[in-house]
Symmetry: C2
Subunit: 250 residues, 2 copies
DNA sequence: ACCATTGTCCCGCATTATGGGACAAATAGA
DNA sequence: TCTATTTGTCCCATAATGCGGGACAATGGT
């Protein structure tokens, strides 16, 4: 099934680099130009890719993967359904924006967002993903992994970055994670340069493994540590209710 | 590139029917069991599909397409970026939920949602798609297509359904579309049995062709025709601003 | 005006997908 | 409980198809 693998690799890279030309793309995935070209034409004929008109076409994704991704979320494990009403209550109780993310390999994937009453100014698009340590809910998941899994993650410096260049020492991160685990939530004040703060908690499957995260986010000048701490009980309770709802399903 | 086409067909159908067994799936896409089985294994190895453990595995999508779809939206035509701030203003002015949809073939695809201050209770997931006539923004697009394109759509009864069974007579729909075009917006009170009402307007590319739609939605007991009419100027102005923003790009 | 780069296509070779069929295991039915 | 049906998995000979080097013209940067 080699062509399938190559085609999917092309889709993946085009998603990342679009709009991109054929030769450039061929260089990125280290394949002969002719092969990439053939794959692009095939993917176009199946409605997954499109190119702008012109002598040097640039390729982009069509909306097809969006629809497919949407359906994937919908039927996936029932998490979204189980979480929605809880998320809505939470946003009404707190006025802040609620995010629901899914653990996906070594990333956190944003599945659903319910906007707060109070404005934040930034709206993360569903489908965004980022490193686990970057978000409060990601660190809440990290803190609740088994010791082995945790060590596995922390081994690579990639997963210990606070920003592009700033790597967190293992000891410091371990200490924070221990605290997070004990409290049941993680906080971020003014994360990653953006002017938003957040507090996150993990959601567990029926075997007790963390697989998703729930977070509350708001403008950093409104939410400093004391305010975040005050929100914690509501958030933790909401995450617990979602975990319970998931456990009841099939 | 036959295997690629088959693999994508499998992904598409699995998204629709998940969780589904191999034999069942083979019947749906009219392919030999052996072929489908091989494709499933391949797609699993590339991380696009997964199966639950057990003697009769059921296949589902992984979150991979979600991430890809998300990136597709992000870089796609800049629509989302151009629309966000306008959508945010709109929700603060009106308190209602704002939806941004993209015309995709004969469907409307939900790209972004900003939740209103007032509760609706239902949250359409990004990635949902539906027939053009079902949503107010879809009908706003329909109304602004060229006469030829419009005739093309209305020829098939599929696109004239108010519900599963209720088909709108061509004359009636044409009359409504003419009115929508003149006013610049379409309204739906209590659409499709759900308890929400909405008002929608079209967004145009720089050639003047409608390619996306903006809508305001709220609970039907709060938004009847008079209230919707009162919201119209704000919505139409917002859609116009997004169209202008798009025209300035590139 | 030059020249490196790009998009596109061709074609002989060899790799690879194909799908009927066989089998065991699991479910549905009685 | 026993039987009939369906399901998941695998094998294999045959035919089909993807492969990628290379050639060419069009393009655009300098």
């Amino acid at each position: 099934m080699r062509p399938v693998g190559l085609a999917l690799a092309v889709v993946d890279r085009v998603a990342e680099l679009q709009p991109i030309g054929a030769s450039d793309l061929a260089r990125h995935i280290a394949l002969p130009k002719a092969t990439v070209h053939r794959l692009l034409l095939a993917l176009e004929s199946y409605g997954w890719l499109e190119r702008d008109a012109g002598p040097r076409p640039r390729w982009s994704l069509t909306v097809k993967p969006i629809g497919i991704g949407g359906r994937a979320i919908e039927r996936k494990s029932g998490l979204r359904m189980a979480a929605l009403s809880v998320m809505d209550s939470l946003r009404h109780e707190t006025g802040e924006t609620v995010h629901l993310g899914l653990l996906h390999g070594d990333k956190m994937l944003l599945i659903e967002r319910i906007d707060g009453i109070k404005s934040v100014g930034i709206f993360l698009p569903v489908g965004t993903s980022w490193d686990l340590t970057w978000s409060s809910s990601g660190r809440a998941i990290l803190a609740n992994l088994s010791a082995d899994e945790q060590r596995e993650f922390l081994r690579t410096p990639r997963y210990r970055r606070r920003s592009e260049t700033d790597v967190i020492p293992v000891g410091e991160l371990m200490a924070e994670l221990a605290l997070v685990r004990e409290r049941g939530f993680a906080i971020s004040v003014g994360i990653a340069g953006a002017n938003s703060s957040s507090i996150g908690a993990a959601i567990f499957d029926r075997h007790g493994a963390p697989f998703a995260g729930l977070s509350l986010s708001g403008a950093v000048d409104r939410l400093r540590e004391p305010e975040l701490m005050a929100l914690a009980p509501l958030l933790v309770e909401a995450a617990r209710r979602i975990s319970m709802g998931m456990a009841l399903q099939v």
